[in-house]
């Protein structure tokens, strides 16, 4: 505690010493200095003021010296001075007043001028208002006039409208009556038609009966007569379909040639077995005849706008039907090679088209419909909504259709029944690529994408036989397989370019024919059973036979 106070005292002493040294000696000095400085500055100011005063006084004294002449008694002078002073004061006051008055006058003048200006302005405004008023009135009158006019027109139009309305009701009444007449007439006409049809049927029946009787008679006669058969005489002109006794399995390529510019999608022999047609991606159908080991072109059918997908001859070989990727099917006559009909209406590629009867055609399309066409009226008579893209179809007995679909189903249709419901369906394991009927129309050969051929017995409505082979691959969605004319064999092309021929009764591969270098698309057996034609995705068509 003692040391405590010691250093505290020491500090206090130091501070006091500091203050004594630094501030106390200077307090009075600086205070005095500041005071003196203030005094000096105030004196300086006063000095300046006095100087100015002196100057002023000097000037005054000079002026008084100049005026002071003569010695007048101081009293009078004083009196006069006082008077003068008063008068001068009065005078100044007057002057002041006058000045004020003048100022007032000036102010009033200014005011007056301003008011006048205002009046002038108002006048101009009034005149312009009047002018506008007049123009507005004029326009109002004009508008009223036009309103009246419009009203008159309106009235007129209304009248016209009423008149027209009345005319319209009258006409409508007449129209209704006419329609009634019309329906009446139609009914009567229909009745007449029905009667005609009945009569026609009766006549037909009679005619057929008569013909049958005649035929029976002729047959009897013919049976009686011995007719020498002239074997040397070839097929006479006219339609004689080829007859097959026994099909032979072709063993070698007789003729290999470039048929088209691009892929060949379809080949088909005619019913006589004398010609075959091929259709390809180059939009052409070509007709060929096999003669002395070569295939000679017998004509080209043009008219399609896209590749040909399927071909079919009519039963008498007079017409050729081609389905096309341009959504249409076309019919050419073979003799003059001219395009006769173009059947348009599908909204997708037509993948297959076949003759139903001589006058009707059925086509199956990628747009999931089948259409039946009447060649007489050249129009679509029926559209069947199949529900899936149709890859191939065949016709049976002129009225039934069997179609093979993308959804692995085969559908059976009867054109006579109500549309849009198939009579029967068979589901297979793969997408259908082709259908082919055997010549006895009891067996159906189906080619599916699961690389096998199925033979369906149409009487049993089930698969009777399955044909497969090592290395057999179905090349595309429209690969076609065929029966031989005697139903002993089935032929189909593979994706690797081989042509497989199966023996149907043994369900075994009979032969594998190698000539194609691309996937084989379609093949067709000559109706006489001696040769086979196949086409591929390249340009080539090969004709096979065993001699």
């Amino acid at each position: 505690m003692a040391t405590d106070t010691n250093w505290k005292r020491d500090l206090l002493n130091q501070i006091q010493r500091r203050n004594r040294k630094q501030s106390y000696p200077f307090i009075h000095l600086i205070q005095t200095n500041n005071k003196l400085q203030e005094i000096a500055s105030s004196l300086h100011l006063k000095n300046v003021q006095l100087q100015v005063e002196i100057e002023r006084l000097k000037e005054e004294s000079i002026s008084s010296h100049v005026r002071g002449d003569g010695v007048v008694s101081i009293a009078t002078t004083h009196q006069l001075e006082q008077k003068l002073f008063k008068l001068q004061e009065e005078l100044t006051e007057m002057h002041k007043k006058r000045g004020e008055n003048a100022q007032q006058i000036i102010d009033l003048n200014a005011l007056l001028q301003e008011k006048e200006k205002e009046i002038q302005h108002k006048d101009t405004m009034i005149s312009s208002m009047v002018e506008t008023n007049v123009t507005l009135k004029q326009s109002k009158k004009a508008l009223e006039f036009s309103i009246a006019e419009l009203e008159a027109t309106n009235q007129m139009l209304k009248d016209e409208h009423q008149a027209l309305q009345m005319a319209f009701t009258a006409l409508e009444e007449r129209y209704r009556k006419t329609q009634e007449d019309n329906s009446d007439l139609i009914q009567r006409w229909m009745e007449q038609k029905a009667k005609d049809a009945d009569r026609m049927n009766a006549e037909n029946a009679d005619f057929i009966k008569a013909r049958q009787q005649r035929l029976a008679k002729d047959l009897e006669e013919a049976a009686k007569e011995q007719v020498p058969v002239d074997l040397d005489k070839g097929p006479v002109d006219g339609y004689i379909p080829a007859v097959c006794v026994m099909a032979s399995v072709p063993s070698r390529a007789q003729c290999v040639f470039d048929a088209h510019e691009g892929e060949v999608y379809s080949v088909q022999w005619n019913a006589m077995g004398s010609f075959f047609a091929s259709g390809g991606a180059d939009r052409k159908i070509k007709l060929w005849e096999y003669h002395n080991g070569v295939c000679e072109s017998r004509g080209t059918l043009v008219g399609s706008n896209a590749g040909i997908t399927s071909l079919d001859y009519s039963q008498d070989d007079s017409m050729l039907l081609g389905a096309s990727n341009d959504f249409a099917s076309r019919i050419w006559t073979v003799v003059d090679q001219r395009l006769r009909h173009t059947l348009t209406g599908h909204s997708g590629k037509v993948l297959s088209a076949k003759f139903l009867t001589e006058g009707k055609v059925v086509s199956g399309s990628h747009d999931r419909t089948l259409k039946i066409w009447d060649l007489v009226s050249k129009s679509c008579v029926k559209t069947i909504f199949a529900g899936s893209s149709c890859n191939d179809l065949v016709t049976l007995y002129g009225a039934s259709i069997i179609s093979g679909h993308f959804d692995k189903r085969i559908r059976f249709w009867d054109t006579r029944g109500p549309a849009d419901s198939s009579i029967n369906e068979i589901l297979l394991q793969g997408r259908l690529t082709s259908l082919a009927l055997a010549s006895d129309k009891n067996q159906l050969l189906c080619c599916t994408r699961d690389d096998c051929l199925k033979i369906i017995d149409l009487r049993m409505n089930q698969v009777s036989c399955t044909l497969t082979a090592d290395g057999f691959k179905v090349g595309c969605d429209w690969s076609r397989a065929v029966f031989s004319p005697d139903r002993e064999y089935a032929a189909a092309g593979s994706g690797d370019g081989h042509l497989f021929v199966w023996n149907v009764s043994k369900a075994k591969v009979e032969k594998i024919l190698k000539e194609h270098s691309h996937a084989v698309v379609a093949c067709s057996w000559n109706p006489s059973g001696v040769s086979l034609v196949s086409c591929e995705k390249g340009k080539k068509v090969v004709l096979w036979s065993d001699f």
């Binding site: 106070t5 250093w7 505290k8 005292r9 020491d10 500090l11 206090l12 130091q14 501070i15 006091q16 500091r18 203050n19 040294k21 630094q22 501030s23 000696p25 200077f26 307090i27 000095l29 600086i30 205070q31 200095n33 500041n34 400085q37």
Partner: protein, 273 residues
Amino acid sequence: MADDREILRELWDGKIPVSFQLAQEEIYTVEQPDPFFLLVPRLTYFPLVTDKVYRHMVKHVDPDHGEMWLEFDNQPLKWHYPIGVLYDLYGYQSELPWTLTVHFKNFPEDELLHCPSKEAVESHFMSVVKEADALKHRGQAINNMQKKDHKALWTGLMNDKFDQFWSVNKKLMENSGEDAFKSVPFRIYQMDQIPVQKLFKPVDDNGENLTLKNLLSIALPDLEEKGILSRYRVVTQGIEPPLDVPVGWMSEHLSYPDNFLHICLVSRGHSES
């Protein structure tokens, strides 16, 4: 305690005689301006006392002048240090009155802050007080005060009212029981160096009071290591306190009004030259 109060009072009365002279190259009039003498309190700031100097000098300079600033011995003086600190740091060895040069041109932008008004000084002062209280009481004392207390601190300093100032300041200087100082707000100045400021507890772990010597060894370990501390005088408030004075007591009694201990190290060699 009577001694302590006396010490505070004597410190408050500390004044320095200053002679203001206009820089020769800035005189604009024919007449040479007289030097202006003032006795300025050590604890205040220059912008609070130089109004008269400004009025006196401004008559003699280019009317297109800039802000006024002061210089001693080619050293621009920072207005935000208390005048006592400036004197102890730069003018401790010089003769009295302290002769400063007044400038109106070439404001040393990179050394001085602009001082637009006395409000700037006030806000600076209050912020330093808050900083000090944050160090001492975690800012609780200053935050518990009202606005009028803050105002009383400032007006007490500005108008040289010892009682008004200390009636408020004693709350900030509370150093007992729970309000004991957490750490001591101090700054150590050296010529041409950035001031040193560190966290420093006034009492060590054993409850012993730490002295000025401890403070210097912690704040300036370099000087301590080199053993050159004896080359410097340790000056605060114009005196050289013994090195065994407890720092806690120093902070309570020898702090400037901004609650900081401003300690200057003045080279002894400088005084001999």
